[in-house]
């Protein structure tokens, strides 16, 4: 009986709790429509803004992680340098091997973080692009302060023009004190740079070929104009000694004489400032200088010449880099040899 009473009291208690919960839920449900009437559901722009904020937060986290790893890597490299300066001993060598292994791990972690940062950057760009599309749709009907706010957000999220990316050349010097692992890392960085320079050579080659085609078209166009001038199409007046036909023959003189127009002495130019920025550390200063003046030229032949000049300079740099990398790799193999 006692047990049955306990069960019944428990059941009643459970029932009461359930009923209270339902009432709470009903209350909440009744309240939610009221809340949705007072605080509106997120708009498409707000949802897009939330996605952008999440992507940016994730990116900021990766950036912080990279900065931390970079500090650690710098500290480890400093410790390695310090150990190398010490007098060789078994203890020093063991410590050095440990530190090198640790720094290698950190370098690999940095590479992984760099890849994650690249993906995070891409996520931010995608989120922003989607947000801009959403804003553009909202702007169709937006007015007043709402429009001002949307336009402000759009300016913040609209993708900026791609900044010219400088091609950085890794250190090519062969450090006689370097270990095989360091040399191999250095060689790997040089191989990456060579690949980038190789792509640049191919791009410049394509650019030069395109400008050459355009230059050929322009030459043909100008040649047709030159032949038309030789037609001397102004008619001849067969006149008597009367001087009435004042234009007799003189139109030909006017047309045949060299026109006081431009005599273009402008330097061959580069086609974009971006190229000069990208190659600033790759080619010699005079080539960079010519490249920077290039955007002033609308002559495709001049631009083709500049592209070929830049291509030859990059190709020469690439050859030099390959030679030095081969020397570094050779030294690494030599150190590893038993």
């Amino acid at each position: 009986m006692l047990f049955l009473g306990l069960v019944m009291r428990a059941s009643i208690l459970a029932l009461a709790i359930c009923l209270a919960g339902s009432a709470g839920v009903a209350e909440a449900q009744r309240a939610r429509p009221a809340a949705s009437r007072v605080g509106q559901a997120p708009t498409p722009v707000e949802r897009a803004a939330a996605v952008v904020a999440n992507a940016e937060a994730a990116r900021a986290q990766v950036v912080a992680e990279r900065a931390q790893l970079a500090r650690r890597y710098e500290a480890e490299l400093a410790e390695v340098d310090q150990l190398k300066r010490q007098k060789p001993s078994w203890r020093r060598d063991r410590a050095l091997r440990g530190k090198l292994a640790s720094s290698l791990e950190t370098a690999r972690a940095l590479d992984a973080v760099a890849a994650r940062l690249k993906r995070a950057d891409a996520d931010v760009v995608r989120a922003r692009a989607a947000a801009v599309v959403t804003i553009d749709q909202a702007l169709i009907t937006a007015t007043g302060p709402r429009r001002v706010e949307l336009e402000r957000r759009r300016r913040v999220w609209a993708p900026a023009p791609a900044a010219p990316r400088k091609i950085l050349i890794p250190d090519e010097r062969l450090d006689p004190l370097a270990d095989p692992e360091e040399l191999e890392l250095q060689a790997a960085a040089l191989r990456d740079a060579e690949a980038e320079l190789g792509r640049e050579v191919a791009r410049l080659e394509q650019q030069a070929a395109r400008y050459d085609r355009m230059a050929a078209l322009r030459r043909q166009h100008e040649r047709a104009e030159e032949l038309a001038l030789r037609d001397e199409s102004d008619p001849r007046r067969i006149g008597t000694t009367a001087r009435g036909g004042g234009n007799e023959g003189l139109a030909a003189a006017d047309d045949g004489a060299p026109a006081p127009g431009e005599h273009d002495l402008s330097d061959p130019g580069l086609d974009s400032r971006d190229l000069a920025t990208a190659l600033a550390d790759v080619v010699d200063p005079s080539t960079v200088d010519a490249l920077r003046r290039a955007e002033r030229s609308t002559d495709p032949a001049a631009r083709a010449a500049a592209a070929r000049r830049a291509r030859d300079a990059v190709r020469a740099r690439l050859t030099t880099m390959r030679t030095k990398r081969a020397a570094i790799e050779g030294r690494a193999r030599e150190l590893r040899a038993p």
């Binding site: 043909q220 008619p235 001087r243 002033r296």
Partner: protein, 380 residues
């Protein structure tokens, strides 16, 4: 001619120590048939247009160089000839010689540079006859060029010019000229197609050796040479030339140009207004073939009636306006290396179709060109 030969030698042998850069040489020869070699407008029953076969030849050498970091120079010397090879047409054979020297010195920052230029163009008649096209023209100009970004330039020049009209010294003139020219890249696509605008204005004041004429006839009188009464004053002309051209460069080159010439003369019968509109397109046809098609319209309007005489019938025709329109097609094929073959057909006509005068002309030309440049064919 000895002077021309000396200049050619100078261009070719310019010392490398002066910082000479690429040079370019070109030689061309061609044959042409001209259905109106004297380019006359004819009246019914009067003088007829003459057809003649001709040969043309031209040689040109260009050289450019630098003197120091900021100074560049360029020189061009050319010589040519045109001769009728059959038929009874005389007075159309001529030799041409031209020299063009220019220098440019860049100011600080390379945005401003000073210009200097001297030109001489000479046409010599052959056969002891002063052909109507024989003249010599010379000029010296100083100027300034301003450069902005993205292909934007402005050039302002001023100078003096002289023209000697060999058949009749009364048409010799000397004068001052000022010109301004602006070019800008209006648009550029990511795949490197672009649209350029070039606009220019030139004004020339010409003082002639001959005297100005005044109208000695009453307004209702028919125009004859007797109406042109010489005065004591020398003839002076003020000529204004304005031009604008749009050029698109991409997989084809298209250009549209308009030029307005206003010649305001103190001499009766010498003032005129000319409009010239031209449209041209050049396209590659594959297999190293290129084609260019051009259409031109040129109406002239004369402030005073223009007298056109026919010395065969000794009649005079007075016209207030004139029209020269035409179309031309040129095809060319590069033959590999430095050679190029070209052919051209042009048709010109008086599109107004007036009854008094008729102008028709057909030109058929075929030629071969050899061109060689060192290092960089883009050198001026």
């Amino acid at each position: 001619m000895r002077v021309v030969a000396a200049l050619v030698a100078l261009v070719v042998a310019a010392p490398a120590a002066a910082g000479a850069e690429p040079w370019r040489a070109r030689v061309e020869v061609g044959a042409e048939v001209d259905s109106n070699v004297r380019r006359i407008a004819v009246v019914p029953g009067g003088r007829r247009a003459e057809t003649a076969p001709l040969v043309r030849a031209l040689a040109e050498v260009r050289r450019a160089g630098a003197a120091g970091d900021r100074t560049r120079w360029a020189m061009r010397v050319s010589g040519g000839s045109r001769a009728v090879v059959a038929g009874g047409v005389v007075g159309e054979d001529l030799l041409i010689a031209a020299v063009d020297v220019a220098g440019e010195r860049a100011g600080p920052g390379d945005d401003v540079s000073a210009l200097v230029r001297a030109t001489h163009y000479d046409v010599f008649p052959v056969g002891g006859e002063h052909g109507a096209r024989a003249f010599a023209s010379s000029g010296v100009d100083l100027g300034v060029r301003l450069r902005g970004g993205a292909g934007r330039t402005a050039t302002v020049t001023g100078g003096v010019r002289r023209l000697d009209y060999k058949p009749d010294p009364d048409f010799d003139w000397t004068g001052q000229v000022a010109a301004v020219r602006v070019s800008d890249e209006l648009w550029r696509a990511a795949d490197e197609r672009w649209l350029e605008l070039t606009a220019g204005y030139r004004v020339e004041r010409r003082g002639y050796r001959g005297r100005a004429f005044t109208d000695g006839c009453a307004p209702a009188e028919p125009r004859t040479p007797a109406c042109f009464v010489p005065t004591r004053q020398p003839r002076t002309d003020l000529q204004h030339v304005g031009a604008v051209e749009l050029t698109y460069t991409g997989d084809a080159v298209l250009s549209a140009g308009y030029q307005l010439v206003l010649n305001d003369s103190a001499s009766f019968g010498s003032s005129y207004q000319r409009h010239r509109l031209s449209l041209s397109v050049t396209r590659g046809l594959g297999a190293r073939w290129f084609a260019t098609a051009t259409v031109t319209g040129q109406p002239d309007r004369f402030r005073d009636p223009l007298l056109v005489t026919d010395d065969l019938t000794m009649t005079f025709t007075s016209i207030d306006d004139e029209n020269r329109s035409g179309a031309a097609v040129r095809v060319a094929r590069t033959l590999g290396g430095s050679w190029e073959l070209e052919a051209r057909y042009a048709f010109q006509a008086d599109a107004s179709g007036g009854d008094d005068l008729r102008y028709r002309r057909h030109l058929v030309y075929a030629g071969l060109t050899w061109e060689r440049a060192t290092v960089d064919p883009a050198a001026p």
